[in-house]
């Protein structure tokens, strides 16, 4: 999707919201969020929660992950 130097919109939002602790689940979160936003550039929070329901984070970053996804959703660019 992106590199550390050129992050995708979703990756950049995850950095801005510090939406990772250990980072082990992060790649899956980012792929799921990117797929959601590509299909639905302005999901509601309920839709985002539903899309991410299968991605579990043991560190407990779900609230920040959701904030990152909604940050991208708010500009409607589809996450690229």
């Amino acid at each position: 999707l992106g590199t550390p130097e050129r992050l995708s919109a979703v990756q950049a939002a995850f950095v801005q919201e510090q939406a990772a602790q250990c980072g082990y689940c992060t790649n899956g979160m980012i792929m799921t969020a990117t797929a959601l936003l590509a299909k639905n550039p302005r999901p509601t929070e309920a839709e985002a929660r539903d899309a991410l329901a299968g991605n579990l984070c043991r560190c407990g970053t779900h609230v920040r992950v959701l904030a990152a996804v909604m940050r991208v959703a708010s500009n409607g660019t589809g996450g690229r």
């Binding site: 999707l1 992106g2 590199t3 550390p4 992050l7 990756q11 995850f14 950095v15 510090q18 990772a20 602790q21 250990c22 980072g23 082990y24 992060t26 790649n27 980012i30 560190c59």
Partner: protein, 308 residues
Amino acid sequence: MNQITLKRRQFLQAGGALVVGFALAPLASAAAQQAARGAFPLRDVTDDAVDSFLAIAPDGQVTLYSGRVDLGTGLRAAYRQIVAEDLDVPYDRINMIDGDTALTPDQGGTGGSTAIVAAGIEVRQAAATARQALLKLASERLLVPVEQLSAADGVVRASNGRSVAYGDLVGGKRFDIKADAKAPVKNAAQYKYVGKSLRRPDLPGKMTGRHTFVHDFKLPNMLHARVIRPSAIGATLADVDESSIANIPSARCRAHPELRDRCCENEWNAGARIACFACPLDRAAAICPAPTTFTPRCARPCRSGTSS
């Protein structure tokens, strides 16, 4: 020395390089071992020495050696903030090394939200002690009393306008002092770095699949292992069908009375073997001793006569 009471730290002090060399001896070439020693020369890692925590290079670059590790909690930012504050060096001029017991002091395990409140205090004491030592060195160098000196951004300045950089005072050399719990620390009103939300260095790598997890480490001839546990509590191993993994290159099986583990030259094959062993595990006759409480969970091959 008693083998059992020999502490890890004493062991490393006695010969950390030898320990590493011994561990790798059957695996790595002599050249690789030599390279490893050259890259990581032995350090003093006594728990209370300033040098165990901090090193200042001639160019003023500071290295912090942390006995606690950043598990994604932001410790690499937080400890650098603490050092920047109480050593009076710019945040960006600090590198942090964690997760290497041959290089770092033993600050105990990382967990329980204690990395700041307990181990962070040790880092702060080391930084504050080093700052006092640098002021004293600067006093001798500039022939100005310590009271007329101030430190900021890695430079000691005297009231008469003269100054000297940390790197010129101690660069590449040891402090050879113990961390002083009474060394004066900044009060909160003076904080420039602590309390600010600074960039976490680990995040861009984690967001782009480039972060190195412990699972990603590779050593020469390293094997990957999987433990296959019995399917019932208290079961013991009766039989292993080695032929079931004969088709996987370099797969080995080591039987243990209560577990089995198998090693493979890559993670993929190690995982693949789990599927292969779905068969032999069922065929292995597990013996369940008096499993009355756990009968519903007992594997089909139980032959103690108590299976459901």
